[in-house]
């Protein structure tokens, strides 16, 4: 519960899979409520990609764990403290701009991470990354365009995007802070040290934000506790009440 993750590979796979699970869920909350029909379709596409990636990551996590847990078991039957996603992805949707900013910041990290993972010493990790990297390349293009379009749009859209950036920026640092799990993965050549991804992230994000006429807020404080599972935000538990409802209410049923 929380801090001690005895098997770092399992923990790492849960981190990858919980990120896509939780963000995919958040994005799917938009279904039927987007500002334009084309966005409804695009958001559903993103969510579908993320759900598919979740099935791969958590499926492999279950296999590595070796206790017979399926991807669904991991998604539907763990409580908050066992989740290993970044705090960023569990943040609420807010307005459409906030959703797009969250997506953009995540995509920019995600792409760096997946690119590095395509060279993983663990063949299954490399394979999942290879399958995901093209999807995420596309996510990043789209979310970047949206950030630019809305950041450099009207005064109102600019203001909203800047507010979204101010709100979400403190969740960026967590993506790059290495911890024992990361070090074990790096030592085994399974995954990169996340701190090494920062330069690539910054280069891309700075360029997009500049074009979007948005400014990164001052102060480098980083909220942490998501990927280690030590302390999620209150939002995650509320998400789980919905996401896990049927599996909790009807244990053992097949759907």
């Amino acid at each position: 519960m929380g801090q001690a993750d005895p098997d770092p590979l399992f923990a790492f796979l849960c981190r990858m899979g919980d990120n896509t699970l939780v963000l995919g869920h958040r994005v799917s909350e938009w279904c039927g409520h987007a500002p334009v029909l084309e966005e409804d379709i695009a958001l559903a596409n993103t969510a579908l990609d993320l759900i598919g990636q979740t099935q791969m990551w958590l499926g492999h996590a279950g296999a590595v764990e070796g206790k017979g847990r399926s991807a669904d078991d991991l998604a539907m039957l763990r409580d908050v403290w066992d989740f290993r996603n970044l705090l960023l992805v569990e943040q609420p949707n807010g307005d459409f701009g906030q959703t797009m900013m969250r997506q953009f910041l995540f995509d920019a990290w995600h792409l760096q991470m997946l690119r590095a993972l395509t060279g993983s010493s663990e063949p299954q990790v490399a394979a999942i990354a290879a399958k995901s990297v093209k999807e995420v390349q596309y996510h990043l293009e789209r979310s970047g365009e949206m950030v630019i379009g809305l950041g450099d749009g009207t005064a109102e859209s600019h203001g909203r995007m800047q507010a979204a950036l101010d709100l979400l920026w403190p969740y960026v640092g967590e993506m790059f802070q290495p911890d024992p799990v990361d070090r074990a993965m790096a030592a085994a050549g399974i995954a990169p040290d996340p701190s090494g991804l920062r330069a690539g992230f910054d280069a891309h994000v700075d360029a997009v934000l500049a074009e979007a006429t948005l400014s990164i807020p001052e102060g480098g404080f980083a909220q942490t506790g998501g990927k280690t599972g030590f302390q999620h935000s209150e939002h995650l538990g509320h998400m789980l009440t919905q996401m896990q409802w049927l599996q909790r209410a009807y244990p053992g049923a097949r759907w």
Partner: protein, 311 residues
């Protein structure tokens, strides 16, 4: 009048009418209403199923449901495009939906209360929709007919997925089976209503049929739907909530009870269980999206201006 006769002759000969062809105003208006309502139904139809996406029981079920609702948005898009060829913009149509001037299918004013409803909607609602739509693949207006061909293909896929959910539930735990029966109890009559009132009470029918905008009568389609669906319910081991339901050898189909048409007209009048919520949800999406649409337009204009300036 000569033009009119020539137009009718083309239709009778099975030719497709295309947007640039001459057509009577009544034909155009009727089509705009019909295609627009159909498009709106796809859009509003996202909501009852969208209601369960965040509670889907497995990752696979979530993906299937999401893809389905996404298809509905896609159908809305084709249909708005087909309507636009008749000289009405998507935004105009949307505003008519949002302020209540245009309708959408009454079925989407019913709530989805359990996961079995995802099955029932696919099986019964998409099933009834297909029954309505298959003949429209042969409708006289080209863009509409082509949109329907594409849509029908996806809808029948959705219907099978819905039936598959029902099957899992009906063969599942006692609670799941009870949920499945409960969903059938609630959706049976609303599904029958989807074909519209008996033809004797239906306005517009004769002219629409002459124009091949409508191909079969409401009662024909409803009968066909019942005849197809009852054996499927039996196969699932579920009971259709109609004590009068009975096979009639003479007509080679089932005798069945009419839905409560008073309820139907109340739903049309805005008094269905979810009318207020559905319209409120769409209005909220539209209003809260205004700044996004404005922002993207402003950016596109800036970009264009910069490009021109740079040339």
């Amino acid at each position: 009048p000569e033009k009119l006769a020539a137009f009718q002759a083309r239709i009778d000969a099975g030719e497709k009418i295309e947007p640039k062809d001459w057509m009577p105003e009544g034909y155009r208006k009727t089509l705009i209403r019909q295609i627009g309502q159909h498009a709106h139904s796809e859009i509003v139809g996202q909501l009852p199923e969208g209601n369960w996406i965040t509670r889907a029981p497995t990752l696979e079920r979530k993906a299937i449901l999401l893809a389905k609702v996404q298809d509905e948005a896609g159908h809305g898009l084709y249909l708005y495009c087909a309507a636009e060829t008749l000289g009405v913009s998507r935004d105009e149509l949307t505003e008519m939906l949002l302020d209540g001037r245009m309708k959408y299918s009454s079925i989407f004013n019913y709530p989805t209360l359990t996961w079995a409803d995802m099955g029932a909607v696919g099986w019964l609602v998409d099933g009834a929709a297909i029954m309505n739509q298959v003949p429209l693949q042969r409708t006289s207006f080209g863009p509409y007919a082509r949109a329907m061909i594409r849509i029908c293909k996806e809808e029948s896929f959705h219907q099978r997925q819905g039936y598959d959910i029902m099957m899992k539930m009906a063969r599942g735990t006692p609670a799941q089976k009870a949920m499945a029966q409960n969903a059938l109890d609630r959706f049976w009559y609303p599904a029958l209503m989807m074909f519209g009132p008996s033809d004797k009470d239906s306005v517009h029918s004769a002219q629409s049929m002459a124009w091949k905008i409508k191909i079969n009568t409401n009662d024909e389609l409803r009968q066909k739907f019942v005849d197809q669906t009852v054996p499927q319910a039996e196969y699932l081991g579920l009971t259709v909530p109609d004590e009068t339901l009975k096979w009639n050898d003479d007509k080679g189909g089932y005798d069945f009870a009419e839905p409560d048409w008073d309820e139907f007209f109340e739903v049309i009048r805005g008094n269905g269980p979810c009318n207020t919520e559905r319209l409120a949800a769409r209005n909220r999406a539209w209003d809260e999206g205004q700044w996004v649409r404005d922002g993207l337009l402003a950016h596109a204009a800036k970009r264009k201006h910069r490009k021109v300036a740079a040339e």
